[in-house]
Symmetry: C2
């Protein structure tokens, strides 16, 4: 029996908390990721919330605190749909763990990245109804899933800056690809923060608090930070992750495949976050000495990945295919995971590489 309705071939890093990613082939060529392939990243047990009893509290630095049922949320605010890719900050951690061990963190491949059409209301509209005060600089999300991995154990939470919170793409979503949100993906309601690390798209959302400071939840204040290589992760500090920086990976062929030599179609995805989009993807069969520009699809919105494809003439023998993406500001992925290694293994944006044997 599959876990949480997922494909049988999911790469399950942990069963409890449930952490699983699809194989590359399940993402290849699909602008939208089927729900049974969408990656799942959790820090505690999956809550089972009664949608009738569920309420959303909106409080903190607002003039009119709210408590809303799901029906009230749907009735009082306009419905919007946004196509958006979510990506875990630990996506591609395996490439960092190959440099040096990262104890206690799952070795995600490139599959902690998936795309859906999300339906819900704009966070901006709800905050406007609550009367966001001028001194609010951050908007915190809280949920009931208690994580034993936090220090001390606590429910999951996080926050985003108010500049992002009031943008039209940020949703409180109850549906994914036109169907009610599956329990494992946050039913009855989750935040969707396009362009930011998945950790800020808080699932099983029960409280939204406007604050002067970022959330003091463990997963905002201590985790999800890029630390210097010699730092103690428990001490906090480092760079708190928010907007996703430009990244890509190869989806087909798969890493380790045996394929015929000769002209071969190579495909993958690229993603940029914040206010940036993917502008170009280069692919190489000689380790980056020369590059072929891949064809890019349009993406379904500024907030989704762009799939890319090109045909390379593969020589016989052992071949490494390398890919790198450029964003709309002209930034390109750095070469090597060696220089990106960090104690929690976040933000591996180094060039994508797969090894093939070509007959």
């Amino acid at each position: 029996m599959s876990l949480w309705g997922k494909r049988d071939d999911m790469v399950v890093h942990e069963r409890d908390p449930f952490n699983a990613e699809p194989p590359r082939a399940a993402l290849a060529g699909r602008r939208t990721t089927p729900p049974d392939a969408f990656y799942s990243r959790n820090h505690g047990p999956v809550p089972d919330l009664d949608p009738d009893a569920w309420r959303l509290t909106v409080d903190g630095l607002v003039d009119r605190p709210l408590e809303l049922s799901l029906a009230e949320l749907r009735d009082r605010f306009a419905e919007h749909e946004v196509a958006a890719t979510l990506q875990c900050a630990g996506n591609r951690r395996a490439g960092l763990a190959a440099v040096r061990a990262i104890p206690g963190e799952d070795p995600w491949g490139p599959g902690a990245t998936s795309t859906a059409r999300w339906t819900g209301v704009r966070l901006a509209d709800v905050l406007a109804e609550a009367g966001l005060r001028a001194e609010a600089a951050h908007v915190a999300f809280a949920a009931p899933d208690v994580s034993q991995l936090a220090d001390p154990p606590q429910p999951y939470g996080g926050s985003i800056g108010v500049d992002k919170a009031v943008r039209p793409e940020v949703l409180l979503a109850w549906a994914m690809d036109g169907r009610p949100l599956p329990r494992v993906h946050g039913a009855p309601l989750r935040a969707v923060v396009p362009g930011w690390i998945g950790a800020r798209s808080v699932k099983w959302l029960t409280r939204i608090s406007a604050r002067a400071e970022p959330s003091d939840n463990y997963f905002q204040a201590t985790a999800y930070r890029v630390l210097p290589a010699d730092a103690d992760p428990a001490a906090g500090g480092g760079i708190s992750l928010g907007p996703i920086t430009v990244n890509c990976d190869i989806l087909r062929p798969d890493d380790g495949d045996r394929v015929p030599s000769g002209p071969t179609e190579v495909t993958g995805y690229a993603l940029a976050g914040g206010d940036r989009t993917v502008a170009r993807v280069d692919v190489s069969v000689d380790g980056g000495r020369s590059w072929t520009q891949a064809d890019l699809d349009d993406g379904d919105s500024p907030w989704t990945w762009r799939h890319w494809r090109t045909t390379l003439d593969l020589p016989r023998g052992d071949v490494v295919i390398t890919a790198r993406a450029w964003d709309s500001a002209g930034a390109v992925q750095p070469e090597s995971p060696v220089h990106l290694w960090n104690p929690k293994g976040y933000a591996n944006t180094s060039w994508a590489r797969i090894a093939l044997t070509c007959a």
Copy 2:
């Protein structure tokens, strides 16, 4: 006699058009760059505009086109000051030219980066007065300095997206560090677009046009684009540069210095653009195998560089010092200029390196 009131030790790449940068020592340790050291990047002769006859036209997709004298501009809009670093897209091109020649482009060092306090009015306020229409997506700047380097020769111009144009940090400035703008820096009025490549901070501004599309001026439509290594620069295409991506360089010691071995203070600057700020600077004496975190000053605003400093224990012999900056989204500079080389030599964001001889 110095050129355009600049220091005698400016590195003058061209006298006409005047293109010059200060030596590293002139920038080191100074949050604000003295006007006589501020870099100067021009594409044509420096105009000599009569401030009494000068008018600013605001037209295009606006409800109420404006024609404003300098006195009207100062009287009708609130005055604002913004500390901002400007950086040329060709800054550090010398590092790319060392990989492979870049004909027709000046080999700028790290000095095409300078900081001032700018005084003027907000572009947003002027656009609001003119009644910016909903279909305006770009704001174009035009100036009278005719460039013979453009194809065909034409006055300099460029544009920025309307999202940026209406932000409070974007100014129409008549003063620099509290004194009237020097002629070589754009008197009587220039655009100042903090966080974007210097090319968009158009000097000698005479016209602002709201448009549905980016400016079709040569310097927007063809130049200032990152092209694939094998592309023809005359053909256009590529990634049009706007927001600056994270970068840094070393200011003291100077490249090529002979210094005593032992504890040595190393200083420099780091800069990030768009919505990002500098979060961390690492410095290495072993080519990046190990890093020391530098101390960062606060910067005078989110739009200025941050100076950094650290003390390294330099061994005897030939030593290369390497530095790299991380931005607030967790993006870090890529390692090598080899992989960033592009036909026009823009956006060299590779790690900073200086070579020393330590006695």
